[in-house]
């Protein structure tokens, strides 16, 4: 009888300890997250990235809108000239295909700016020593930082929904929201995996410029893979196509939420974070 209750007591104690730990951990992660987010907005990085991004994407959007509306008009005009019925042209869909296509290219220029200093600066300034000697788990530090970068990225993405509202307002028949939603899901997943790669690269160097260049180079390489994958229908190109981040992202911009593509991008994101975790462990051995 007495034994049973002591075992139970131990269980309760263990459980409460675990609970306390997770609570503490979430709190620690929240602290890192807030600090990181604050850092983006105290330095000009966030403002510069957000402003230039909005301006660029606005430019691309209205440019595509103008080009495709004009094409549609011209086609309709020609058809009328020859007495044919106007060709079926889905202007909103074409604008969005191109718009989300260019978005991925713009991201490879902007996302390295969000991740370059993440760990490189902490290492250079010696503040990593503060974080790693606090009762925080490595995972909590990494996740807090990753989520902060994701937040800025979402702040980049969110206001661009205004363009879609404009498109919706002026399209007749009304455009399909489903495809837009799919594109946004794709963009978020693409951003998350690119950011996680950036986080990893930032953890392997003390110099944030080197981190930025390496990250950018890595992204460019991924784009090169995509171009190579487009060649011919050889086995090699099929493999490359499967490995290409962009070809998976492209599925989303076509309005398809393919579970394989979701899995691919999510795995890439998790992989980047796991690599960062291991880079932390080896960092401790080298310090």
């Amino acid at each position: 009888m007495g034994e049973v209750s002591s075992v139970e007591m131990n269980d309760v104690r263990e459980a409460s300890k675990r609970l306390f730990r997770t609570r503490c951990g979430v709190r620690g992660m929240w602290a890192i997250y807030k600090k990181e987010l604050r850092g983006y907005f105290v330095s000009p990085i966030a403002y510069v990235v957000l402003t230039v991004f909005y301006v660029l994407m606005g430019y691309f959007f209205f440019n595509f809108l103008a080009i495709f509306s004009e094409q549609a008009l011209y086609a309709a005009y020609q058809a009328a000239e020859y007495g044919n019925s106007p060709p079926a042209m889905d202007v909103p869909a074409q604008v969005d295909r191109n718009y989300f296509g260019i978005l991925s290219t713009v991201l490879i220029f902007f996302l390295p700016a969000l991740t370059m200093g993440m760990f490189a600066e902490e290492r250079r300034r010696g503040t990593l020593e503060l974080l790693l000697t606090a009762p925080l788990k490595d995972g909590q530090i990494i996740l807090g930082k990753f989520l902060a970068a994701m937040t800025v990225f979402l702040l980049m993405l969110l206001p661009t929904a205004v363009f879609q509202v404009v498109l919706h307002r002026f399209s007749d028949p009304p455009m399909a929201w489903g495809a837009v939603l799919a594109s946004y899901i794709g963009a978020v997943l693409l951003g998350a995996s690119l950011i996680s790669i950036g986080v990893f690269i930032s953890s392997i160097t003390e110099n944030q410029i080197i981190a930025a260049v390496l990250t950018f180079g890595c992204f460019l390489l991924m784009w090169v893979i995509e171009i190579a994958a487009r060649q011919t229908g050889t086995l090699m190109s099929e493999v490359l196509k499967y490995l290409s981040v962009l070809s998976h992202y492209e599925d989303f911009t076509k309005g398809i939420v393919d579970s394989g593509s979701v899995l691919f991008l999510v795995s890439l994101c998790v992989l980047g974070l796991l690599f960062t975790y291991h880079s932390f462990i080896s960092l401790r051995w080298r310090m």
Partner: protein, 321 residues
């Protein structure tokens, strides 16, 4: 029970052995000094104790917790000021200290109370809203100290806390450390000797990763007073500057081991500090010798070796412990 217990600690970086087989203890509310020249392994030891880097071999128990088995418990009980204060330049002092309290797991209400206390203790009341970037070196060091104690740790580990400060700031920081020693167990590293004699109850001397001696500052002094030193000043009658006087001649007097220091004053005044075997007899022989040469003895007195010299001897000679 010792608050800090280190057993056979070794750290290797590839072929380089940074510290080797280090063992020591520190009791409750003790200020323990860690003294050694650059590269002795002070930072490495502290980084292991704080859980920043793993050891290659050996055991560390802090407040009874093994750092490998219960890193979490240990980290909660430690305050650490690294060699370079880990500050975020674009935070204000208040924001920074609040952040540190948060990652150290301090409850909100307690953190708020501690913020005021710690700022008062470290003399930061007037700079709470100042960006750390705008603070002087001395103030930054105080912020570093404040972050180390905000969560009321049992153990404080301070890596060269006075490095790069001006003399006035050094005195302030030393006072602060002494007062912290009343509440915490402090492990303090330095390569400046007066620091340990002024603040520490016990000193560990480290050289090339090995423990050379552990003692109180007074104990070290006593232990090394075996070899006496005397200071003599005398006037050499000489006609020209190249009279041919060689201080080494004095070293040939029986009982004189070596000349520690020589100061040549104006053309004929010579001051020497000698290490001698036995004070009483050597004095007579020295005086005799000088008179025999026709030199005029002006001063002769014994010199207590300063800690500085003990330190140099400790790290250049064989282990004495």
């Amino acid at each position: 029970m010792s608050v800090i217990e280190v057993q056979g600690l070794t750290k290797r970086y590839g072929p380089v052995t940074a510290i080797e087989d280090l063992s020591f203890q520190a009791g409750e509310r003790e200020i323990l000094g860690f003294l050694g020249p650059n590269g002795a392994g002070k930072t490495t030891t502290m980084r292991i104790l704080t859980g920043f880097i793993p050891a290659s071999e050996g055991n560390v128990r802090l407040s009874g917790f093994d750092i490998r088995e219960h890193p979490w418990e240990v980290k909660k009980r430690i305050g650490y000021l690294p060699e370079i204060p880990p500050l975020y330049a674009d935070m204000s002092v208040d924001v920074y200290l609040r952040f540190v309290a948060e990652i150290r797991g301090t409850e909100k209400a307690r953190a708020r109370r501690r913020l005021g206390e710690v700022k008062e203790l470290c003399g930061l009341q007037t700079v709470g809203r100042t960006l750390i970037r705008r603070l002087s070196k001395g103030y930054r060091q105080r912020v570093g100290m404040a972050q180390a104690i905000i969560h009321e740790p049992e153990i404080l580990i301070l890596d060269e806390p006075t490095i790069g400060l001006d003399p006035k700031q050094i005195i302030e920081v030393r006072h602060l450390i002494k007062s912290l020693g009343e509440r915490h167990t402090v492990l303090l590293s330095t390569h400046i000797l007066p620091e340990v004699s002024m603040t520490c109850q016990r000193v560990i001397i480290l050289n090339k990763g090995k423990l050379v001696a552990v003692d109180t500052p007074e104990g070290l002094l006593r232990r090394l007073q075996g070899g006496e030193r005397i200071f003599i000043r005398f006037r050499v009658d000489r006609q020209g500057p190249s009279d041919g006087f060689d201080p080494a001649e004095v070293a040939r007097v029986p009982g004189v081991r070596r000349i520690v220091r020589e100061v040549l004053g104006d053309s004929s005044l010579v001051s020497l500090e000698l290490e001698v075997e036995d004070d009483q007899e050597v004095r007579g022989r020295l005086a005799e010798y000088l008179v025999g040469r026709g030199w005029k003895l002006q001063e002769m007195r014994s010199v207590n070796p300063t800690l500085e010299e003990i330190f140099i001897r400790l790290v250049t000679e064989e282990p004495v412990a």
